[in-house]
């Protein structure tokens, strides 16, 4: 770990100003990802700007029934929030499926979204990795690919995004609110996180010094149901092989609309738009769900080590949709 300067930010504006002025500065939130990476020697900031105590810890109900969630709220507090549990169970479920009780007590809303890939090669500075060291090559391509992407990968990088919460946020059409060098802006989570392309070193579309201050979740109609299912190698405390976040509204045995995101399959939460299109107006039957899942997974590009993710995602997505529509919403 390279020595670094530390300062605690007194305000959002002060944090952003400090960071913008120093290309070697990074924000410190809960630390569960950044400190890990500092110790692994895969990131070398010259300055940490601690934003963990900024007063961004509220969950605010918006006039339209949506929620504005503070960026430094801890994951465990968010998962336990009554409004999240009742209105957006997919978000609670995704959070509770991630990490451990201790980590959820420290990790923040923004930090969770911005956590970096668990690709073994990215985490090991003794191996080439285009994300860590652009141009050095991708060790995973010829190596261990079991955890890697089946959608949206590039020749440069086949890593996947590790967050569960981000998958739920993508399915909920959630938006992050940021303050940056150019003022405040709003970025949908699906656009905040990006595919690797030829710039795998960039996980997201934030500018240097741009700070996430909140996550906004738009309201769901009363009839919509949402859920999250994660498939993993252990019963708990393991990253997803495949996960599914789905929000669906049915009416009289027909799917009105569905929003679906898959986790563990791409460099960002993968919005299953093909499946969503196939479901709109389709009968709410297992046959429709399977076809929708097939429509999505037909576009997958698996590698030898992760081909199992295709049937796993198809089967899991079908089961999630069946479960969510098994009975009429209350």
């Amino acid at each position: 770990m390279k020595p670094f300067a530390y300062e605690r930010a007194g305000s959002v504006r002060a944090a952003v100003t400090a960071a913008v002025d120093d290309p070697g500065a990074v924000f410190l939130g809960g630390g569960t990802n950044l400190v890990d990476h500092l110790r692994l020697g895969i990131t070398h900031p010259g300055r940490l700007i601690d934003v963990s105590r900024l007063p961004l810890e509220d969950v605010e109900e918006l006039p339209d029934g949506g929620l504005r969630i503070g960026a430094t709220l801890r994951n465990s507090d968010l998962a336990a929030h009554p409004l999240v549990r009742t209105r957006f169970p997919v978000l609670s479920r995704a959070l509770l499926a991630g990490a451990s009780g201790q980590l959820r007590n420290a990790a923040t809303t923004a930090g969770n979204l911005l956590q970096r890939t668990r690709c073994r090669y990215f985490q090991d500075p003794t191996t080439p990795c285009n994300k860590r060291d652009p141009g050095s090559g991708c060790s995973a391509l010829t190596g261990y690919t079991r955890q890697h992407a089946v959608f949206g990968a590039s020749e440069e990088c086949i890593a996947v995004h590790p967050s569960d919460m981000a998958v739920a946020a993508a399915a909920l059409d959630a938006v992050v609110v940021t303050t940056g060098p150019e003022g405040e802006r709003r970025i949908p989570v699906t656009e905040l996180l990006r595919l690797p392309g030829d710039e795998p070193q960039r996980d997201n579309t934030l500018l240097h010094g741009e700070l996430i201050t909140a996550l906004e979740v738009p309201p769901l109609p009363a009839g919509a149901r949402s859920g999250y299912r994660k498939v993993r190698d252990r019963a708990s405390f393991a990253f997803a092989l495949v996960s599914v976040a789905a929000v669906v509204e049915t009416e009289g045995g027909t799917v009105r609309w569905a929003r679906i995101a898959l986790g563990g399959v791409a460099h960002k939460p993968w919005r299953a738009t093909r499946a969503e299109d196939a479901l709109a107006g389709a009968p709410a039957t297992e046959e429709s769900f399977r076809r929708a899942a097939e429509a999505e997974l037909a576009a997958a590009e698996p590698l030898s080590g992760n081909a199992f993710k295709v049937p796993m995602a198809r089967r899991t997505l079908t089961a999630v949709l069946s479960d969510l529509t098994a009975e009429e919403p209350q």
Binding site: A80, Q102, A235
Partner: protein
């Protein structure tokens, strides 16, 4: 680069100058001589370093000391009462032989203490069937197992760990003893 911090560790105020890189775990173990929290992985993957930080269970290996100036830290060494009597969780772990080598144990016990408070406060877990805040979730074995899954025990004492925590399960306010 150094920074000066003050912590309250197991009820005692401790001031020290640390490298900004020093984890809370290393500050406790190497600087303050509080070796109850253990270093098992140093990456938040095993839970051996779990302490109660301002009353909540966290892994101290991923906490930077400098970021927690003024914090209250409770380790398993600080759980026994002033008379030296073991905390009910410690007693139950001993009675149920809920450890073998003992290296993960202080972290397990701090985690259990924090976990029981969380459960008592009605916080849900991955094992909770009904997320309705009005629903009262009993602390079943499956709930204990899920909530304790951030603490790895390689000796394989989980069966006894669950039994020990089950026995203490209805103790509330455990961290305030």
């Amino acid at each position: 680069m150094d920074a000066h911090v003050t912590l309250r560790v197991d009820g005692e105020e401790r001031s020290l100058t640390v490298d900004t890189r020093t984890s809370l775990l290393d500050a406790l173990r190497d600087r303050l001589g509080v070796t109850s929290p253990k270093k098992g992985c140093d990456h938040g993957q095993c839970g051996s370093c779990t302490v109660l930080l301002d009353g909540r269970r966290v892994v101290s290996c991923l906490a930077l000391t400098v970021s927690h100036d003024g914090a209250e830290v409770t380790t398993a060494a600080g759980l026994p009462g002033p008379d030296g009597r073991l905390h009910p969780l410690q007693q139950a772990f001993w009675d149920h032989d809920a450890f073998q080598c003992g290296y993960c144990t202080p972290g397990q016990i701090c985690s259990a203490a924090g976990m029981l408070e969380e459960a008592d406060a009605g916080r849900p877990s991955h094992a909770t069937a009904d997320l309705d805040p009005a629903a009262r979730t009993p602390l079943t074995d499956d709930e204990i197992r899920e909530r304790m899954s951030g603490n790895i025990c390689r000796c394989g004492a989980y069966v006894n760990i669950v039994a020990a925590i089950r026995e203490v399960g209805d103790v509330s306010e455990v961290t305030e003893r």
